[in-house]
């Protein structure tokens, strides 16, 4: 068990981060905090992918001029990084749309606390 934990300590931490995010979405009543929790989830997943591509002592996968190709062991896998660039963009866009909506909600209902907003809506 300990070996399992120690060997994958980074993944365990990522799992905890992910759960923190989900907890945040469910537990907080503030709409803005929910959006922040969503960002935590997104960060956890980004870290998960990056960890897949990383290796001890790996270097950037760029071929310097004059060097023969072939020693792939030395390179970190670049694909997860590029994927996560996309995911970050998606995360930013989501946050942007979310914030725009929050502004509109705040202007109309005067609060970002979910119970207050729902109460206002019922009026």
């Amino acid at each position: 068990m300990l070996a399992l934990t120690a060997g994958y300590i980074n993944f365990w931490l990522i799992a905890i981060l992910l759960l923190v995010g989900f907890y945040g979405i469910i537990a907080t009543e503030n709409l803005l905090k929910k959006l922040m929790a969503l960002n935590v989830i997104s960060v956890a997943i980004i870290l998960f992918y990056l960890n897949l591509g990383q290796k001890a002592g790996g270097t950037v996968p760029i071929l310097p001029p004059g060097v023969e190709a072939g020693v792939t062991e030395a390179y970190a896998n670049p694909l997860p990084h590029t994927l996560m660039l996309t995911a970050i963009v998606v995360g930013v866009a989501t946050t942007g749309v979310g914030l725009a909506m929050l502004r509109k909600i705040y202007k109309r209902y005067g609060s970002l606390e979910e119970p207050v907003v729902l109460k206002e809506m019922r009026k």
């Binding site: 997104s42 992918y49 909600i105 809506m121």
Partner: protein
């Protein structure tokens, strides 16, 4: 040009979407024309690609010339072709429908609407044609973000609904992303065809089971599978009419398509898939009953239709869970059938609300006299919902029931029967009000002035799409054999005989 047909399907609306904010400053008419053109291109390309896939086999298009597994691949097999034609057809139709809704809004707002709408179309079409699971995630997020913003354009109440949908939807997409992360960690590939080859030896591992679970739950939320449907009633019922139409008609269907694609074409025989499908099947059965009963309890026509969607989408999953040929025929036909039927119903509900401001069912009294053609389409769609011949709804239900009897799944048979009857109850109530009840007089001045529509009961741009869908429901029903044997049959997974 024809060599790039698959790419054109999502790219045409995407490019025009990006140009629209600029064009909108020049002329809204120009925007409208370009938007219609873009979707027409998508529809034509989809049809062309589908034809190609049926005649010459699956079309693999390598984006930018990079062969998979390095590059992104678009795959048009008959399945993707059918759904792409369906989605682009609806996007086009609803765009036509949107014109009277947009009339009278400021030019800037119209520009935003067209931009977001085209982004939504591009995202949905991209999800359909892509052969790469990560690319699917990206398109999923494009379509979802556009959908959130479009829903929010319906007012403050809609903004709250859209925001909650955004939270749930993004969490769902994150689960999906995590799921494909596992697949990538296991196989080092994100290409669907590649994964299908690499996964079978790993089928028994826990990681595959987890991936199946995460992906199914993620997409299950997006398609509002009970009990993950919480966002749907608010989102559908507060969205503007054309948006509700497109969401109900195709957006959830595309997620259902993605579930089918990934479970049946990527994981194929993996043991966890069977477990996931079994659980999903029982959830679907519960969802069918829950959705139908909740629909009966609604007073608001839109919310009634939304709950009815929860039930009807579950039919698709039920068919997938049965897993025999008849069940899959039923599921795929239900995708078409429900798109036409619920699309038609939401467009009718939207038209009624646009024309008279009525959303409450009891206030529909004697509307049949004022809008006879619109309500005629509603009657046809309601018959299809209940599953009465000769509408297409009858045939999708026929296959589902045949599949259930063949599999000996008597509980599912009972659920289908019960659902038909419950559906009859809530649609009958609407029709009874619309056709038979006398107008009880205006309730505290709630009735808005009826808009003039140039002598028509409804602006022609709204009426024509409604009637096309109404006729489509009958046509699909009458030609359901040609559709099954000519198209849907080729969309079965290859492990079928």
């Amino acid at each position: 040009m024809t060599a790039h047909l698959p790419a054109l399907i999502p790219v045409a609306p995407l490019v025009i979407a990006l140009l629209t904010p600029i064009l909108a400053r020049l002329s809204v008419t120009l925007v409208r024309i370009t938007a219609l053109t873009a979707l027409l291109i998508s529809l034509a390309s989809s049809a062309g690609a589908l034809q190609h896939a049926l005649v010459e086999g699956t079309w693999h298009y390598h984006f930018g010339g990079w062969a998979p597994p390095w590059g992104i691949e678009y795959v048009i097999d008959p399945l993707a072709g059918i759904i792409a034609v369906l989605v682009s057809f609806f996007c086009l139709l609803v765009l036509v429908y949107a014109a009277p809704y947009l009339a009278g809004k400021p030019a800037q707002e119209k520009g935003y609407f067209y931009t977001l709408y085209l982004l939504l179309a591009a995202g949905l079409l991209g999800m359909v044609v892509t052969g790469d699971v990560f690319n699917l995630y990206v398109f999923l997020e494009i379509s979802s973000l556009a959908a959130y913003a479009l829903i929010a354009s319906g007012g403050s109440r809609a903004t709250v609904a859209a925001y909650r949908y955004l939270l749930i939807g993004t969490a769902a997409a994150s689960l999906y992303l995590l799921g494909i992360g596992y697949l990538y960690a296991l196989t080092g590939s994100l290409n669907m065809a590649d994964l299908a080859v690499l996964l079978p030896p790993l089928a028994a591992t826990n990681a595959v089971a987890l991936a199946v679970a995460l992906i199914t739950i993620g997409l299950g939320i997006k398609m509002a599978l009970f009990p993950l449907h919480g966002w749907l009633p608010d989102a559908y019922s507060s969205a503007p009419a054309p948006v509700a139409g497109i969401l109900a008609a195709v957006m959830a269907k595309v997620s259902a398509y993605a579930i089918y694609r990934i479970l049946y074409f990527v994981f194929k025989t993996a043991a966890p898939v069977q477990v996931a499908l079994d659980i999903a099947g029982w959830m679907a059965a519960a969802g069918i009953l829950y959705g139908s009963i909740m629909a009966i309890a609604q007073r608001d026509l839109w919310r009634m239709l939304a709950y009815s969607s929860v039930a009807q989408m579950a039919y698709i999953i039920l068919g997938l869970a049965l897993g025999n040929i008849m069940g899959l025929y039923g599921a795929l036909l239900q995708i078409l059938s429900h798109a036409f039927t619920k699309g038609c119903l939401f467009l009718v509900a939207g038209s009624i609300s646009h024309q008279t401001g009525i959303r409450d069912i009891p206030r529909l009294a004697r509307l049949s006299r004022r809008m006879p053609w619109t309500l005629a389409a509603f009657v046809v769609a309601a018959m299809s919902m209940v599953g009465l011949p000769p509408t297409v709804g009858f045939f999708s239900k026929w296959y589902l029931m045949l599949g259930a009897v063949e599999a000996g799944a008597w509980v599912f048979v009972a659920v289908l029967v019960a659902s038909s009857l419950l559906t009859a109850v809530y649609f009958f109530r609407v029709l009874e009000y619309a056709y038979l009840k006398e107008d009880q007089g205006q309730v505290e001045g709630q009735t808005r002035e009826v808009k003039a529509a140039g002598g028509w009961e409804l602006a022609p741009a709204m009426l024509v799409p409604v009637l096309i869908l109404g006729l489509g429901i009958l046509t699909l029903g009458i030609f359901s054999d040609q559709i099954i044997s000519g198209y849907i049959h080729f969309a079965l997974p290859w492990r079928m005989p």
